[in-house]
Symmetry: C2
Subunit: 448 residues, 2 copies
């Protein structure tokens, strides 16, 4: 049958060439959009410092108190916190009372339109040129504030979705031949964690006790973990409840924001307990998060594609657009009384699966999600040793200890060590900072 | 060195014989105590029927409403519900307002002394001989009430602690040689489940979609589970928050009560997803619980020992006394429009680990527990085929289908099937009933 007049027929090579050029153009447009997104200037002058993590572009949400006063919602701007709880109480905002609570959950529950309205309102009020008279009395110096958990964690899920991490750990735990489980390239592997153990940055972390048995021992014993570790992750916060399967786009739209997340892990407890039903007490001691929720809105200019698929994904996991973010991440280690030293640097764009894909998979069975659910990305490791997100990988199971500047070595965390996660998205002359996620490891019987 | 005068020396055989006799005496005393615990009679005459699951000895706690009215706390007695929310509101109780809530969490948070006081108060007021005048107006026929979730599930943990079940499943999933994982006799294996998917008896259960790949297929596909199953369990409810390791005795004391629990499981989704981090979407569709919380106090006469240890337990898991219960359990299956048929019968005393041991292990890493945490026992299977707590085991992975009285066969659950868990502790002339835990499986796109 001859082609109809309005049909144009092309050789496949031509189509492929065009597709390639369109892809290149799309990449260029995205880069341009990112560069065009410049610093928004504020009358809070400290926010205009290009080194500040909290310019007007960011406006992350936290919960703070002053000198033992009541916990309430605040928004970071430069080196100040805007007391939005007080503004709300005074009727100066459209947020209707949700901000005087000790968490952002009730605000999140208002939904995406309210999120956007509130953000636009704050951006207008804090912009350079706006009249500071009404708001200035509600600025609190960040240095004077105590930061608390920014939201109530409903449930906590942790994933295993960085390919470099999964390959490294798999090689150590199951051998190079079985490193990447057969399902790994088909789905974001996840497991349920423990919400009650999520704590805010600054909370001391007690070294856990647990059952320990190395392969050369015949019986387990009970005692303090000797292989206590960090996991460098980003946590995605669900802001919209759902009660059935979500598409990847719906999942993306339901994510309110992100925090740094350190999923403290006892590797020796884990090795003995995790078969056949997964990690349990090895991950239940503490999970630290940074105190500021960086909104998905603030990260919009930093969206980036997940890496090319090695095998095609099933339809329900396909992304309609770039849903990862370009966020530089790192960890420092400071032995007690000593200076901090950077032990790893990586980027959130190393993830094989985005948080949107993880959330879509999480709901694929019909699992209901709630406002305040927290999804850990899984440890984020890059290709090189200096990009690995856990000591387990950096020291290759303790066989290649880190040598610190003072000459001390570290296979795993020692009591008194302070581990600090940091992260930022670098824009054109401004940055979206996550602040820090800090934890000092103390022996089981001490600490608070 | 000669023994001192006040020291008595005995040959080991003599000591062993005495120990054996003391054990036998202890068993006899326990049996006698159980037999001596007789029915407490009530002026609510339906509670005095030996076939009633809700005599004065039981007094289980639920949440009910009538004709779309407000949800509130109630206590089952015979075929009636005592509207304790109304009694509390009228100042007729010492419970101080917690009972008008739509869950028992706030009451649980009052702690064990309040639990005991309330139970004693109810027992006195409802006892035969007490004046019914004040209370009678607050009795609601159970038949007229709608039952809801009796408590808000904070977090849900599921265990794997019946040895027959673990052996059966292990044999099918990993072969007879690796059936019982090496850690199994040393710790109650558990994993975190999903609290948001816990529903009350009567809620329809939608067959989940998920990734499916049988070993003979090269690629996974996405579709409805073809091996959807039940798990017959008992759920223990944590009534006291804690923030560090608990002893087994402390754990026992912190458990408020028990419900029947059906942890619906998609075996095909599970088989493909569970390595290396455990079950995730295979268990996230729904977990049904019975609507009445049977208190630990009501079960006190039915305490029984865990089976003899095959290897000694580490100190932190040793029980100071009998902490299991003698509770008969069973499941019926009713194809759509057909009569229900019993498909299994077992007993909670088949557990290798008690809920107290599970909770102690759960806190061993320092994991904080909250009021309303729910701990599933894990599937409870006895030694014979007719004692197995899941279809996976009953039909041996679908290879030995059940033949139903009408001639139909079942390897796994079909759409329209209604599965009902039931349970009771049989005393001397009375029984502590759990009521039923019912769920009908509907296709993914139907249901509520």
């Amino acid at each position: 049958m001859a082609p109809r007049a309005e049909t144009i027929c092309l050789p496949p090579q031509q189509l492929e060439s065009w597709t390639g050029r369109m892809d290149a153009l799309c990449t260029q447009i995205k880069r341009t959009a990112k560069l065009m997104s410049q610093m928004l200037r504020s009358w809070v002058t400290s926010a205009n410092d290009p080194e500040s993590g909290f310019p007007l572009n960011n406006l992350p949400y936290g919960v703070f108190s002053i000198e033992g006063g009541v916990r309430r919602c605040g928004v970071a701007i430069g080196d100040q916190i805007l007391d939005v709880a007080a503004l709300d109480r005074m009727g100066l905002l459209k947020a209707h009372g949700t901000l005087s609570r000790a968490s952002w959950n009730d605000f999140m529950a208002l939904g995406p339109v309210a999120w956007a309205t509130f953000r636009a309102e704050l951006t207008d009020m804090l912009a350079e040129g706006a009249d500071p008279t009404a708001l200035a009395p509600y600025l609190v110096p960040m240095a004077a504030a105590h930061l608390h958990m920014p939201f109530k964690v409903s449930e906590f899920t942790d994933f295993y979705a960085s390919k470099h991490h999964a390959t490294n750990v798999g090689t150590m735990f199951r051998g190079a031949d079985n490193a990447l489980p057969p399902n790994w390239l088909h789905m974001p592997i996840g497991y349920n964690g423990r919400a009650s153990s999520v704590v805010v940055s600054g909370t001391p972390v007690k070294r856990p006790n647990g059952q320990l048995k190395s392969p050369d021992q015949t019986e387990p014993r009970f005692g303090p973990s000797e292989r206590f570790d960090i996991e460098l992750e980003l946590g995605a916060i669900v802001g919209v409840a759902s009660d059935g399967p979500l598409s990847v786009q719906e999942a993306f739209d339901n994510i309110f924001g992100y925090v740094l997340l350190n999923d403290w892990s006892a590797r020796d407890i884990q090795a003995w307990e995790y078969q056949p039903l997964g990690p349990f007490q090895s991950k239940a001691t503490a999970t630290s998060i940074s105190p500021w929720i960086v909104t998905a809105a603030a990260l919009e200019p930093f969206r980036t594609e997940t890496p090319e698929r090695e095998v095609p994904l099933l339809d329900y996991l396909q992304e309609p657009g770039p849903m990862l973010y370009d966020i530089d991440l790192g960890v420092t280690l400071a032995p007690q009384g000593q200076a901090a030293v950077e032990i790893t640097q990586t980027n959130y764009n190393e993830m094989y699966y985005s948080a949107a894909q993880q959330l879509a998979h999480h709901t694929s069975s019909g699992c209901p999600m709630r406002v305040g659910d927290l999804l850990g990305s899984g440890t984020i490791s890059g290709p090189a040793r200096e990009n690995r997100g856990a000591l387990l990988e950096i020291t290759w199971g303790g066989t290649e200890p880190l040598v610190l500047p003072g000459g001390e070595t570290r296979s795993f965390i020692e009591d008194g060590d302070t581990l600090t996660l940091h992260g930022l998205a670098q824009g054109d002359g401004y940055r979206i900072g996550f602040g820090e996620c800090v934890g000092t490891v103390v022996p089981r019987d001490e600490g608070t």
